[in-house]
Symmetry: C2
Subunit: 193 residues, 2 copies
DNA sequence: GTCTATATAGAGATAGAC
DNA sequence: GTCTATCTCTATATAGAC
């Protein structure tokens, strides 16, 4: 495969990633993607044979992006609690996207599950990546395995819930209050020892 | 409209309600609904002219069901905190449905928003019904307006988050732990006075 | 590697007989 | 009020020229 081919392929994945997020997977058509990429529908099939193949590539792309983000948080702070607060603060950082399109991780897994799509488990892996990273940080900060797991799942759920409700009601004061409350809650988990 | 006609119409709405929940709105076709109802696609259009009309009828149906549930909680308990705990415990009561299909309120609003569907705001009204009911209970239990609002949105978000994460990772211990933690948190909001 | 043309299936929606 | 037949559009996917 030539360099240009690889670039087109990458472009297809990046644009599909964005469109799947904003419009949903099923609602996004090949024509839709082809139009934005600037290629014909026919050419499209030279790069990906099925829509599921694009979806899998998008999920892999998201996993790579997630890993880079987690690595970035780790290199930015030595304090594990600060690192975990980076996770909490995605809600603020991605505020306007979440307001319009929700959380990319939660909305994709939910959609694929309703479609009974084979890629559902693949999408759940992104959830698990976040969870495992959070568990690692909490263990490193002194928490036992069980507690680290419980706190991590709690953080994931809180984050998902805030994203869903914010997406529905668009109340920014609610978002701020929940993020503050989450940070305070996290601090409390280490004060009580 | 004859009695039989009204019954068919009701049947269409109830079956669509279920299918939209389990498969998603867009993923559910007329043929799909007609097949389960046991009528032909053509007959279908005698009752509903567009898919959006069915969706609106389903949302109204869900609003009515929700109102009946809220009324039921109110008549079952005089203590407002017990009533609010009924809300928290839907997570347990609807455990297996949530495990497979997520929260019907959250997943529908999320989907409609991605489809940029005109019925999105209609669907958000169900969220608002829950919120207003929770606010009323909390005010009745002595909370000021602002705090009642904040606690209600927090409960909604927690509930949504648990549903989304449970749907993705299917961990029942997580679900139980979160429901317990939510109940404890609610009690604490009234102990601290 | 890109294109046009086309196959095939299913969607939402309509017309009109009974 | 229910049916069959049909229209139109768009979807995924393929074939083959350049």
């Amino acid at each position: 495969m030539s360099i240009q081919g690889a670039e087109t392929q990458k472009k297809i994945v990046e644009i599909s990633d964005d469109l799947f997020y904003r419009q949903g997977y099923e609602h996004t058509s090949f024509s839709n993607i082809a139009e934005v990429v600037g290629i014909s529908r026919g050419n499209f099939y030279h790069h990906f044979k099925t829509k599921t193949q694009i979806l899998d590539a998008v999920i892999e792309f998201r996993k790579e992006k997630t890993q880079r983000m987690l690595d970035d948080w780790e290199s930015s702070f030595t304090d594990e609690i600060q690192r975990v607060k980076c996770f909490i603060n995605i809600l603020i950082k991605n505020k306007s996207k979440i307001k319009h399109y929700g959380c990319p991780v939660g909305t994709l897994t939910t959609e694929l599950q309703k479609l009974d799509h084979s890629a559902h488990e693949h999408a759940v892996e992104i959830f698990v990546m976040f969870k495992n990273w959070l568990v690692a940080q909490l263990k490193s900060a002194g928490k036992k395995g069980n507690e680290a797991e419980q706190i991590s799942l709690h953080l994931l759920a809180r984050s998902q819930g805030v994203a869903t409700v914010f997406n529905a009601i668009k109340n920014e004061r609610f978002l701020r209050a929940e993020v503050d409350s989450l940070e305070t809650w996290l601090d409390e988990q280490f004060e009580r020892v």
